[in-house]
Symmetry: C2
Subunit: 243 residues, 2 copies
Amino acid sequence: MARFFIPKEKLDENFLVLTGENAAHAKVLRLKNGDEVTVCDAEGTDYRCTVSDVAPNQISLVVQAVCPSDSEAKVRCSVYMAFAKGDKFEHVIQKATELGAYEIVCFPSARCVSRPDEKSLKKKLERWQKIAASAAEQSRRGRIPQVIALPSYKAALARAAEAELKVCFYENEEQLTFRAAIEAAPFTTAAILTGPEGGFETEEVQQAADAGLKICTLGSRILRCETAPLCALSALMYACGEF
Amino acid sequence: MARFFIPKEKLDENFLVLTGENAAHAKVLRLKNGDEVTVCDAEGTDYRCTVSDVAPNQISLVVQAVCPSDSEAKVRCSVYMAFAKGDKFEHVIQKATELGAYEIVCFPSARCVSRPDEKSLKKKLERWQKIAASAAEQSRRGRIPQVIALPSYKAALARAAEAELKVCFYENEEQLTFRAAIEAAPFTTAAILTGPEGGFETEEVQQAADAGLKICTLGSRILRCETAPLCALSALMYACGEF
């Protein structure tokens, strides 16, 4: 079934209208009267609709039912990833959105080679949010994860520490498995934190532990900085009964 | 510790020599007498060595111990992925190698847009095998997964069916979770099969079931064809106690 995002303020519980890019998309799909479509507020609520009129730049819909999206994960997992070189973060935004991340947070850490300045960051954030929106639509999510940039490693730790399950992955950790951390106690919110190309420094790992994060291994193979968060997120979704 | 792959036939249990690309790599690492390095046969055996002599194009090593690689997964998971457009398969080879795949197999299916002919496939296989080798080295694996191309969907099903756990992922499956398939019985070999951009056809899913594969869901979000195998592999490694 076709799926369209409409900003919450333009939503109505009885009648909806697809305009602009949504109308263009509807045209490509050749929607006609009677077809069923889903409209999402991008915050987890779905509007099941039927097409009632097709005009050149406007598709009218009648709302049949309003219900919570059935494609959102029960666990709210925030993906914290240190700034990485090239388009690695864009890759992680796209994939983490597909995999059901609640939000995606980037931050600087000691070994980050890439450190966008404020001006370029503002531009990047716009672009990153678009990537999340497009991936959310494609994967039929009911929510668009927010992409957030934090000014410091300390700020990332403080924010991640608010989650019920909070984990920092470190390649030199050999004892605590992610499974042990997941199975230690029930949780509905999670934060998974991974480092840049060169990994975290020992001191940073200590800071994470001091902030209340569990230091975990992702196994005996060294994962690239863009692979680690997606591996951890996939495992978390599996562990939480998503598939 | 630095890690080098040497073909099995050039290995010796007492003395080893790094030449060619390995010597060039050793030079970049500025190895000197007494340094410890690991040499792998790329089939799961590690040779722990000490540098005994450094010449311009040749590094001599004394073998201290021969042991099974400690970075290979206990489960042998074969990743079966239908031909995909662009460089998606290359992406999957790299990531699946990091994540511990035993081998990576590609095959044609009904909705494949990309279908390399025999000549271009031969060239591609060489390139793909190099990607696997490079990813194995970078992730410190003891084995280089083989990249295999099969001529038909039927051949892929027949080969996948030989594994103890064999699963075909289908986005319209709503009942059987991957977890249910994994927990049904113990296994040491697994095959996970995923489709091309447009997914599998209903008939193909039936053929997979007839061949003995379990048809499973990867959750309520639609994953891209390059995301699905890596999500499934990450979850499998987690489920098998790798991290």
